[in-house]
């Protein structure tokens, strides 16, 4: 169990799991991570071990990928990575370097890297150094969505093998959704599981609203098991932790619909109708305890006579089921 107490905040999350931090630009996320890496006040501790913040900075066993993606100056990438690996007895970093697409850059000087290259090298350095905890400050902001997804998944895979926890700061909700188990939401000052944070997130960001469902197992033949039930799905990334079903992909009907390209039809109960704007409404649907959201127009809600407790059919296509 990890425990963090700082500025009157108190967070606890299980060892091996990731904590995500989201908040608007300038709210203090970077300063928080900097404090964990270098500050001395507060408490950051795993189980009953010593409070890391009482140790000198270089003995905390942290892997910090700072937002500036700073690298060791005036030397080649491999010089830096080798030195760090020797220091931390990390023998297999080349494998990870390959995974992150850094191998072709090893001979370059650190100050000649492009923005995205720097970030990936800084990330690998952090992974090499992390003995206790990874601190990732916007680690993929210079990468495109697919590369970012790939890199984060690779890191999650590596940390899973080493049972390492991480704190991830990101301004992309999908980065958090793809990797984290716990989320601190700065604006509402709330610390919660990803699922709970997500529920709040949905209503605040209706245009990004989606259901996040954990998988029972890996996908097979275009199907996944969720909540014990098979769902048709699109292609999923390897190591997918959960699937995402966007609210605007979900439609609602009274009757089991006729044949169409819509593959998944679930029988659900309306548990809430949240007014978003003159043209939008989010219907919260319950499917055996799992939340599903549908973003619809008030007109449609009226036409269908939607009301709390009504049993309806929710439809979404196989391709609406994506890796989070």
């Amino acid at each position: 169990m990890w425990q963090l107490e700082l500025d009157g905040q108190q967070w606890r999350w299980p060892q091996g799991q990731w904590l995500g931090i989201s908040g608007p630009s300038g709210c203090g996320k970077t300063q928080l991570l900097t404090h964990m890496a270098c500050g001395t006040k507060g408490l950051l501790q795993r189980g009953a071990q010593t409070n890391l913040l009482t140790l000198p900075s270089h003995k905390r066993g942290l892997g910090w990928a700072a937002q500036s993606a700073a690298l060791w100056p005036n030397q080649r990438v491999h010089t830096m990575l080798n030195a760090l690996a020797a220091l931390h007895q990390a023998n297999h970093w080349q494998r990870d370097a390959h995974e992150l697409g850094i191998t072709p850059l090893l001979q370059q000087y650190t100050d000649t890297l492009s923005g995205g290259e720097r970030q990936r090298v800084a990330l690998l350095a952090a992974v090499i150094c992390a003995k206790n905890l990874l601190l990732l400050d916007e680690p993929v902001s210079a990468l495109d969505a697919n590369a970012a997804h790939h890199v984060l998944n690779a890191i999650r895979h590596i940390t899973a093998q080493r049972e390492l926890s991480a704190i991830l700061v990101s301004h992309q909700w999908q980065d958090l959704a793809a990797t984290c188990h716990w989320v601190y939401h700065w604006q509402s000052n709330s610390f919660s599981t990803l699922a709970d944070a997500h529920r709040a997130h949905v209503l605040n960001h209706p245009s990004n609203a989606c259901a996040l469902w954990p998988l029972d197992g890996p996908s097979l033949n275009g199907q996944v098991l969720v909540n014990g039930q098979p769902l048709d799905c699109g292609p999923l990334a390897p190591n997918t932790l959960r699937v995402r079903i966007d609210a605007h992909e979900v439609s609602i009907a009274h009757q089991q619909p006729g044949p169409s390209s819509i593959a998944n039809t679930l029988s659900v109960t309306v548990t809430g109708l949240s007014h978003i704007s003159d043209t939008s409404l989010i219907a919260t649907l319950d499917w055996h305890g799992y939340q599903l959201y549908a973003l619809i127009t008030p007109k449609a809600a009226t036409t269908l006579g939607l009301a709390k407790g009504l049993c309806v059919y929710a439809q979404f296509k196989a391709h609406a089921v994506n890796s989070a």
Binding site: S57, H58, L62, G63, S68, L87, D111
Partner: protein
């Protein structure tokens, strides 16, 4: 004259080495140390030899190095007029030339970079080796060159505490002064010209060598 060259080089080398060893930790403390007030005082003290005429230094050194002086008492017959005395004088005299470039360069280091390095598990020594040295090697070369050069160019202090003993404390600058004062211009030209040429050559080599690798992303 050969003896003078040898003594000058030996003095400059020994002084530079001593200064690099003593100056690096001192400069680090000046640049990154905690106590701001104390640092300011020490910083001023380090810079003193710069602003003080060599004669002031020489005067106090004469008093200190005398057989009954604060330093001289630890030796048999005082340290003035000995090579050791010259080294002590030169170390004090050239101290700011080594410490200041180092401290300036250390204090320009990005705090975030140092924080990062520390969090990566580097102890102070490793931090120096992997981050500080690569980032400030320019300053080290500069500090060594300045320390060496300034010791070679030392005149006033040596004039006062050296005693002009050929083969022992008569350095080139003193010898040259003598030659000029005795109107021995031919020999003076030889010494001055030689020093000029050698210094220039040394500097050209040094500066060509330390020119940064051109790996900036400048478009052309």
């Amino acid at each position: 004259m050969n003896a003078a060259i040898w003594i000058t080089c030996k003095l400059a080398l020994v002084t530079t080495l001593v200064l690099l060893v003593l100056g690096t930790p001192l400069a680090w403390w000046l640049a990154q140390g905690r106590s701001r007030f104390l640092r300011t005082l020490v910083e001023a003290a380090v810079a003193l030899p710069l602003i003080l005429p060599p004669t002031v230094l020489g005067f106090y050194l004469l008093l200190l190095l005398a057989p009954d002086g604060a330093i001289g008492q630890f030796s048999q017959s005082g340290l003035a007029f000995s090579f050791m005395g010259l080294v002590i004088g030169s170390v004090i005299y050239s101290l700011p030339f080594v410490v200041q470039p180092l401290a300036a360069s250390f204090s320009q280091l990005d705090t975030r970079l140092l924080q990062l390095g520390r969090s990566q598990g580097l102890n102070p020594w490793q931090l120096l080796r992997h981050i500080v040295l690569p980032a400030t090697c320019h300053a080290f070369v500069m500090a060594a060159a300045l320390g060496f050069a300034h010791t070679v160019g030392e005149f006033g202090v040596v004039l006062m505490i050296g005693g002009n003993i050929p083969g022992e404390t008569q350095v080139l600058s003193i010898l040259l002064f003598d030659e000029v004062e005795t109107l021995n211009f031919a020999q003076a030209h030889r010494i001055a010209g030689g020093l000029l040429a050698a210094s220039f050559a040394l500097l050209v080599v040094l500066y060509s060598w330390q020119k940064k690798r051109g790996h900036t992303r400048v478009a052309t």
